[in-house]
């Protein structure tokens, strides 16, 4: 159950009044996210920017009717997603994510060699457990974020879409399921595979 935050309510009022500052604030908060949503559905960066541009027209047309029953972020991103999907269907470029739900079938979260084999006293237990990640100074923190960003970019499309929406953009599981037309199990499995790979990438980096 969403309630429009006071900040978002002010934004919406400001937009309706044609206030430049409201425009700037909306771009700052949601601009990059809107482009990221578009990129989940169309392959080229140019196309994604055009999707955002087209979606923005729909946003302006609809802002007078927006009732705040969903959050502003959800409403904006949904318009972008619908715009992207329409364009994708026209250009026959998108594949429904439900068809990609089996992506990564058989992948394991951690290299099986790191666990003790079945002949031993403690089969399946850690042989090479995770080492502590030392706290890093600020400089390295942005490098760690680059590692995560790269790891996400290398994911297959449905895994990339789910982890982007859930962990990068903060959508709920239900919102992601509805947006990408996935069952609860599919969504969770895709998220699991994606997160496992990202954690592995960070572990490599931290070594």
């Amino acid at each position: 159950m969403h309630v429009l935050s006071p900040e978002d309510a002010r934004l919406v009022d400001g937009l309706r009044a044609g206030d430049d500052a409201a425009f700037a604030a909306l771009m700052r908060m949601y601009g990059a996210g809107m482009l990221r949503v578009a990129q989940m559905f169309v392959s080229s960066r140019t196309d994604a920017e055009e999707v955002v541009s087209d979606a923005w027209v729909a946003v302006l047309r609809g802002i007078g009717r927006f009732e705040g029953r969903s959050s502003l972020k959800t409403w904006l991103y949904r318009i972008v997603a619908n715009t992207a999907k329409t364009r994708g269907v026209r250009e026959a470029r998108t594949v429904p994510f439900s068809a990609l739900a089996a992506e990564g079938e058989g992948e394991l979260a951690v290299d099986p060699d790191r666990f003790i084999g079945s002949g031993d006293r403690f089969p399946g237990h850690w042989g090479a457990p995770p080492q502590a990640w030392a706290p890093e100074p600020e400089l390295l923190e942005s490098e760690a974020l680059d590692v995560i960003e790269r790891a996400i970019q290398q994911l297959p499309p449905a895994q990339r879409a789910v982890i982007t929406m859930r962990d990068v953009q903060g959508f709920t599981a239900e919102e992601v399921r509805n947006a990408l037309d996935l069952s609860e199990t599919n969504q969770r499995v895709l998220l699991h595979r994606a997160r496992s790979k990202v954690r592995n990438a960070l572990e490599e980096y931290m070594r």
Partner: protein, 82 residues
């Protein structure tokens, strides 16, 4: 509390997402948490997964390309004037 079957670490790492999503059946949740008490490796793995999720939430701090934002601003001003 006696559990019928302990979880092995290679099972734990496959259950971690379901655990964090609160999607484990109560019996499995108990087994999961019991294992954490006695296993540093899995405890650390869970903490690293949590840290990964938090860090992932920080990557979307970018902004639109200037030229695109300029286009959107023009559309906004055009709309406001109509």
């Amino acid at each position: 509390m006696r559990l019928d079957r302990e979880l092995a670490c290679n099972e734990m790492v496959e259950l971690v997402t379901a655990y964090l999503e609160d999607a484990l059946a109560p019996v499995d949740r108990e087994r999961f948490e019991e294992h954490l008490v006695f296993c540093d490796g899995c405890d650390r793995y869970l903490e690293q997964m949590r840290a990964t999720i938090v860090a992932t939430g920080r990557i979307d701090r970018g902004h639109l390309p200037a030229e695109l934002e300029e286009r959107l601003l023009e559309a906004f001003r055009g709309w406001r004037a109509s």
